[in-house]
Symmetry: C2
Subunit: 541 residues, 2 copies
């Protein structure tokens, strides 16, 4: 039995990070000068000021003739031609024109360029029949970027646009922070490497895959990724090796305070724990520590806890090492169903987003720390204060991870109905009814077992069948919900695969689209709403 | 003089791409099976279905005791303990309990787990004083991901979350599309490599830096990046080498139809031009072509045109090679100033975004294709139909590139006032007044030369000085604006660097914060609005 991290003694992540910075401090990353072509995703370590104006000379923005604008309409004599990349010391007088291409320097004295399609050319004469305004079709020197402009600031991450900008002002090399070296140690006897057989009671190791991919996607240097069993001396050896070779050591698992929590014990013996336990769900038993002057982060073993603590604490600490400020995208959305926080901890709720008329609606998912499926496929999450309820219909700020704007199938799961190319959100009839209420989704499917009064545009019958035997007490949350709505509660399962797992433990009733054997005990009617007439054709076919 | 691509014969990018797909088709990328840890950013080439349920067994979500819930409140005898990673064939009876940790499998017959902090333990007895509900603190088998669930679809890009999900269901290797091999050829005698001296009339080469970084950021394989001069045979040699070695050849420059447009000529001689000229600004003279069964894209030489055509056409074509659908983020914003499209072409307008009360406001920037500075520092862009005007105050859809939520200084440029850590948007008094109208920005600075009636919270005087000599006809757009508002128009410059460039070509008047020499000819008062009281202190100091 683990010792308990008391909720009242926990810190919010931002307070934990502040305490850590206060007591341990931060070691700025070293800098290096690298070639611009190697600088993607790197963080700039200096303010970069343009030594030249852009454009570097006043240039034509069209193919045509450089002239004095106040003599138009009029006729001009073409005295020369300036090609792109050429520079000629020409000064035009009244009545003179110089032929230019898009991007050619304009000659001195010119105040406009007339487009070739607005002229009549006869020999070396050009006739212009329209008026021109001062500066028309000229990009004046320095109008894009004046010389001396601060174009990239220290702490900015270089994306393809900024790299192009730096190339445009002639920058060949940039001073950047060295990439942080990260050492990832995964602990836990219960973890099995993906690809191997999964013995009962074991789960696959996924923390190291996430952490490595997360930091590689930021362009950081993951110098080792290793999985060790719950052996105190092996864990100690890895942590000490990490301290020696890396800038940051991340250890997952064993971060609580119990007898078998060796990570916690080793960190305590080798260094100093500055924060233990965070007021956040998922992610409570996290450790922020120091060993021999290096930061060590102990993350809870549950994959979603690892994700949250990594992004709320570790990555933010790395940003501070870089001297940059963290930023995450949020968008506003209307939540379609009530969601609740843990009583004592700030709570993350994953959400799926559906767009309608330019506004976003968020479907909040009930969620526990082990639910990597929900957490990794959601479009983002909302953060709720301890004890808070967010009522249906409220506006929420969604921390965005991705967006998927394919048309949406939502509601009762029924593989025979899934339209090709749709995003399928098979979250059941309750969520389907919310979709109808808020007018979201393209195909919505409700079971009449759930709402007998509801009528869709189309419908489909499916058999409800009985298979297996055993205790009715084995089931899962959805069943508990359904049992309140039908007179004679039975264990109705959402997915056939779950039925197979429970085969001799429960009385199982599943739709026959999932399973061909078993006794038919009733009919379930699915009501189908199809918003888009084009798709309706598909369903009739 | 170049030949003209007639506006009436141009195609919109989506129509051009459709025509290209129709006439040339698309060659799907080959596939390969790789290790999961190497799969970041790769596109999955198969539907991946989970062979196991997640969690793989019903498990405890807390540290505590597994019991039968309907016997609570009550006393239980602890008969065994199941640790994380262990599996024991235990079936509990009435009045029995099994000690479990967070993540331990629950024994058969258990219907809930009571948290250790809600029990009193005496020897091998556990007292529970509260009621428990069915399933409390149990994560039932398969409730996150039922066995047989389609977890990742063909065409999805693997991010750290999806990689973790695949690891969680035991996937060790994934079938992915091979990375497209891209060959980048830059043409143009006017282009100078960054880091070298810039002769008059020349500009720095930035296209290849952008294109390489863009495709590296997507994880693609840039096999060559080269700059060749305007030499038809050299260009031919590079294009043919690209055709041989790569999946896609991108050539920038020389894509119009004039005598020196060798790229156009070589493509015509070696293969087939399917589309020439797009109804888009920037980006008109683009080429979609085929040589020996491979796609070749000719992009205009202006860096912003290259960016737009690359993202609107080339990258979308690559997405089709991958069999994935393109998607770009948009957010809604209110535009603070009128913007106009080109009469004949779909027009991109870069915008800067400012957030207020959860809503976004977009400052639209007048823009020409050569303006890499504006284009690369903007937060995104809006797309306007040919001939369309977007009125001030309208709601627009912004294609998002990045967001910067630092506090904002906006309006008249005045380096002595820039607060540390602010985002500085020195777009002048006109935009500053719009910021006041829409209530956006944190520090807003307006010149009284622009609006003499306006009064800020604070003010600052600066000298207007006269330096240099020459024609008043050299200036730039902002001057034209200002001349309408003051009685005696003078060439007032925004940046000192521009002044230096124009030093003996114009009569220059600049604020003395930029320049210490010259004759003082007047005072300009800056009116400063400071919305945040904390910042106000800073300005008084």
């Amino acid at each position: 039995m683990r010792a308990i991290l008391k909720d009242s003694e926990l810190l919010y992540p931002q307070d934990a990070l502040a305490k850590f910075l206060n007591e341990f401090g931060v070691k700025q990353l070293e800098v290096e000068r690298i070639n611009l072509e190697d600088s993607l995703n790197r963080i700039v370590a200096e303010d970069i000021i343009s030594d030249i104006p852009l454009p570097p000379f006043s240039r034509s923005t069209v193919d045509g003739f450089a002239i004095k604008h106040d003599l138009c309409p009029g006729e001009f004599t073409v005295i020369d031609k300036i090609r792109i990349g050429e520079f000629k010391e020409i000064r035009i007088g009244n009545g003179e024109a110089v032929e230019v291409d898009t991007g050619s320097p304009i000659p001195e004295g010119a105040t406009a360029v007339v487009k070739v399609e607005n002229t009549v050319i006869e020999g070396n004469k050009v006739k212009v029949s329209k008026k021109l305004s001062f500066g028309e079709n000229i990009g004046w020197i320095g109008t894009d970027i004046p010389k001396g402009t601060l174009v990239v600031r220290r702490g900015e991450r270089l994306n393809p646009y900024k790299i192009a900008l730096l190339a445009s002002i002639g920058i060949r090399q940039v001073l950047v922070y060295k990439r942080p070296r990260i050492y990832i140690i995964i602990t836990g006897d219960e973890l099995v490497e993906p690809g191997k057989d999964l013995d009962p009671g074991k789960i696959y190791e996924s923390n190291s895959y996430y952490l490595q991919a997360y930091y590689l996607s930021k362009g950081y240097d993951v110098i080792k990724r290793t999985h060790v069993n719950d052996d105190k001396e092996l864990i100690r050896r890895e942590i000490l090796e990490g301290i020696e070779k890396a800038d940051i050591v991340i250890v997952t698992g064993g971060s609580s305070a119990g007898e078998k929590d060796y990570v916690h014990q080793v960190i305590k013996e080798e260094g100093k724990i500055i924060v233990h336990g965070l007021k956040i769900k998922p992610g409570k038993p996290a450790i922020l520590a120091e060993i021999k002057g290096k930061p060590v982060f102990g993350l809870p073993g549950n994959i979603t806890s690892t994700m949250v603590i990594n992004e709320e604490v570790v990555d933010k600490y790395i940003d501070i090492m870089y001297n940059i400020s963290s930023y995450r995208y949020t968008i506003k959305a209307t939540i379609t169903n009530e969601v609740k926080a843990d009583y004592n901890r700030t709570t993350y709720i994953p959400v799926y987003l559906i767009k309608k008329d330019g506004k976003y609606y968020a479907i909040g998912m009930p969620f526990d720390s082990y639910m990597i499926g929900v957490f990794s496929t959601a479009d983002g999450y909302i953060i709720i204060n301890p004890g808070e309820n967010i009522e249906e219909g409220s506006e929420v700020s969604v921390y965005l991870r991705s967006l998927d704007e394919r048309p949406v199938y939502i509601g009762e799961e029924e593989p025979t109905l899934y339209p090709r190319g749709f995003r399928v959100l098979p979250f059941g009839s309750y969520i389907g009814l919310k979709a109808i209420k808020y007018g979201i989704g393209d195909v919505i499917v409700i079971s009449n077992l759930y709402d007998s009064n509801f009528k869709g545009d189309l419908s489909k019958e499916r058999n409800v069948i009985e298979t297996g035997e055993g205790s009715e007490y084995v089931g899962y949350l959805e069943w508990v919900g359904l049992s309140k709505l039908v007179k004679d509660p039975v264990v109705k399962l959402r997915y056939p695969s779950v039925a197979l797992q429970l085969m001799d433990k429960a009385k199982i009733i599943i739709p026959d689209t999932f399973h061909k054997d078993g006794k038919v005990i009733g009919k379930e009617k699915l009501e189908i709403i199809v918003r888009n007439p084009d798709i309706k054709k598909y369903f009739r076919g």
